[in-house]
């Protein structure tokens, strides 16, 4: 397929892989930020082909995984209301809250719909004036502009029965949280290409400088990932720590200015609780006062008690890269995609689920145990 096959070319892949093998002289630990990158690395079997000196750890960039238990409970609380149509992206539905998942409340009769775009939810609100339509707006800087746009649009067309339950999180504060952890093992980052397509590169220079850590903005296809790994390893081997852009076909220095402006208009930066990691100051978006009538938390006066994660889930350590999924005693035993203990096992982008589904290492280990 045009615009995809080029980035999955087996010959180019081999060339890059050989380059990486040649370049590496000592052990390096790299973190790919985005769940989409984790998915692609594991799905294409790339991890097993890399030199043993390179350890890849999977970062916190799966929006489904880091959405806090409390927010999922809020969504479920709203979905259970008779007057609410709750709209969400597909893979949020399976994520367990403290008692139930949206899929389970849907089976019980709640009106939960899977949409591909928040603008569809505004249309739904216009078509159902007797109902309150709430869009469960999760995601990083990548999905936030579309949600902001939906709010602007709802304001324009006076869709007063539309609101969003925003749970947006931001990449740079999470990177800082990881790098400032005393146990941090990360030598370099593959930054998330789609996040930088929106936000540009500027936020990353101070991080690279402060923590002396190379950051390479990387795409999602096999060739992108290998190139990103090669660029990061090259910097590490040469003792450099710069911000570089592998994903040039999508990412511009200043990002997408229109999207950034829309974000600024609709959202303000606020503290957020990350599932498995805990609270990170100024690490997310909340709807500004100007648009508060489209903020589901204000509209429905949501004020649920905070809830604790399952004590046996080590998702925090996994998302910080301190542990691998297979280090968890519950992985594949008590915790499986059909009964996840924590979020990284739920979404196909979650590190645990990606390992569970695709990794030969784990699957072969499972066979040996039998």
């Amino acid at each position: 397929m045009k615009h995809l096959d080029e980035y999955r070319d087996p010959h180019l892949f081999d060339v890059l892989m050989q380059e990486i093998h040649k370049k590496v002289s000592k052990p390096w630990t790299l973190m790919e930020i985005c769940g989409g990158q984790t998915h692609s690395l594991v799905k294409n079997g790339i991890v097993d082909l890399l030199p043993k000196e390179i350890t890849l750890v999977h970062g916190p960039g799966c929006p489904v995984c880091v959405t806090s238990l409390g927010v999922i409970d809020e969504a479920i609380h709203l979905a259970l209301r008779q007057d609410v149509i709750l709209c969400s992206y597909g893979d949020m539905l399976r994520v367990p809250g403290s008692h139930l998942s949206l899929l389970e409340v849907k089976a019980k009769g709640a009106d939960v719909r899977i949409l591909y775009s928040p603008l569809e939810a505004v249309q739904l609100a216009l078509a159902n004036p007797e109902k309150q339509v709430v869009f469960f707006a999760v995601g990083f800087e990548t999905t936030a502009p579309a949600n902001a746009l939906a709010v602007v649009h709802a304001d324009k067309v006076n869709a007063e029965n539309f609101s969003i339950l925003a749970s947006h999180v931001l990449v740079p504060p999470a990177m800082e949280a990881i790098l400032s952890d005393p146990e941090n093992k990360i030598d370099g980052f593959l930054a998330a290409g789609h996040v930088c397509t929106i936000m540009g590169l500027d936020e990353y220079y101070p991080i690279a400088e402060k923590y002396k850590c190379p950051i390479v903005v990387t795409g999602f296809e096999p060739i992108d990932l290998l190139q990103g790994i090669l660029m990061t390893v090259t910097q590490l081997e040469e003792g450099r720590y710069e911000v570089e852009n592998q994903y040039v076909r999508s990412v511009q220095q200043e990002g997408n200015l229109v999207a950034r402006q829309t974000l600024k208009d609709v959202f303000e930066v606020s503290d957020k609780v990350w599932r498995g990691i805990g609270p990170i100051p100024m690490s997310g978006f909340e709807v500004r006062d100007r648009y508060k009538r489209f903020n589901a938390r204000v509209k429905f006066d949501l004020n649920l008690d905070t809830v604790d994660e399952d004590k046996d889930c080590i998702s925090g350590a996994i998302m910080k890269g301190l542990k691998k999924p297979m280090d968890c005693p519950n992985f594949g035993v008590r915790c499986k995609p059909e009964h996840p203990l924590g979020a990284p096992m739920v979404s196909s982008e979650g590190a645990c689920a990606a390992y569970y589904h695709y990794s030969s290492a784990w699957n072969n280990a499972k066979i040996e145990v039998q």
Partner: protein, 347 residues
């Protein structure tokens, strides 16, 4: 269309199905006499009995399936041909040539006769193409809101091809796994309609009868065909996982040899779906003795529905109970069972 000239187009003097059409009274009588019996006409059905007495010899296969697809019309077909092809194909996977089908409708009050007529004509056409006769059936009508336009159940009886023995127990190490055509078209056709997505080219369902290619394969290869299964719900990945689990053997497949039409692959990228798990209605997997694989492909490729048939992998005694796929770029990964429904990803 040629078929429309040959088949008597039913004439109904009502526009919509109502509860009376399922009452067994005069309206039921009218619905059947002015439509169903006329279109599907054959000596056994003409008996207008609640059952059919048939005369078949040899080893028989029987299969039943219910069809609830929504929407009932989709590019490349509708619930009518799906209901015939699906059951004919299930019989073919037993190595049997479908001969007789039963046909039961559950109609929702308010269904337009125009739609019912179209479905009926597709049933007729699909039955003719597969050489099967509909010999008995049933019609029920449910209140509006209690159904989804039309549900269909078909049960089929077929005669098993002599000199064949299709059983998972016959699958052995070294056998070659054949795939009859490009995957994921049906699921994508349905999903793009449901989601209201439009692509530059319309993706059409692959619904078709697999009876002829399968029978031809059996004619030539006989007992060297060890296993057959159509890759319907759950897609190719599910068929292979079931086979691997039940035989206790491993399966190696090669991503590069699994055909996916370009527009289907593009739609899957956009919808965040893995084509391996997307439903098909005209694709099957055949496991054959390695030495006969080339011959099998030559035979399959003669048939329109199988021109892109390919060998996609083999049975191995390694990684028992697991399906492992070599990716196009040379990495390998385990292909697992689908967990629940395939849900579109956020980004």
């Amino acid at each position: 269309m040629k078929m429309n000239l040959e088949c008597p187009v039913p004439q109904f003097d009502f526009d919509h199905i109502n509860l009376g059409h399922g009452s067994g009274g005069i309206l039921t009588h009218k619905l059947l006499n002015s439509g169903v019996f006329e279109v599907l006409k054959n000596p056994l059905l003409d008996q207008q009995h609640d059952g059919a007495i048939i005369d078949l010899h040899g080893k028989l296969a029987i299969s039943t399936d219910s069809y609830v697809v929504s929407p009932i019309f989709f590019p490349g077909g509708n619930i009518g041909d799906l209901a015939i092809n699906g059951t004919v194909n299930d019989l073919a996977m037993c190595g049997a040539s479908a001969r007789y089908l039963t046909l039961s409708f559950i109609l929702e009050e308010g269904l337009s006769m125009e739609e019912f007529k179209q479905v009926l004509m597709s049933i007729k056409k699909a039955a003719d193409l597969s050489g099967v006769e509909i010999v008995t059936g049933d019609t029920k009508v449910v209140q509006k809101g209690k159904g989804d336009k039309i549900f269909i159940n078909t049960t089929g009886v077929g005669v098993v091809h002599p000199h064949t023995d299709i059983r998972h127990q016959r699958v052995e190490e070294g056998d070659v796994v054949l795939l009859s055509g490009p995957i994921a078209a049906h699921g994508v056709a349905i999903m793009s309609l449901r989601e209201g997505l439009e692509f530059e080219t319309t993706v059409e369902s692959d619904t078709c009868s697999l009876k002829n290619p399968v029978l031809a394969l059996l004619d030539y290869l006989g007992k060297d065909v060890h296993f057959l299964r159509d890759a319907t719900r759950g897609g190719l990945a599910s068929v292979l996982n079931e086979l691997s689990e039940i035989t206790g053997l491993g399966i190696d497949i090669r991503q590069g040899d699994i055909a996916v039409a370009e527009e289907v692959s593009g739609a899957c990228e956009m919808l965040g779906l893995d084509p391996l798990y997307v439903a098909n209605e005209g694709v099957f997997v055949a496991v054959v003795k390695a030495e006969r694989a080339e011959e099998a492909l030559t035979i399959l490729k003669i048939h329109n529905s199988c021109t892109k048939a390919a060998a996609i992998g083999s049975i191995t005694s390694e990684h028992r109970g697991k399906v492992v796929m070599k990716s196009k770029i040379g990495g390998s990964r385990v292909v697992n069972f689908l967990q629940g429904e395939q849900l579109p990803r956020i980004c």
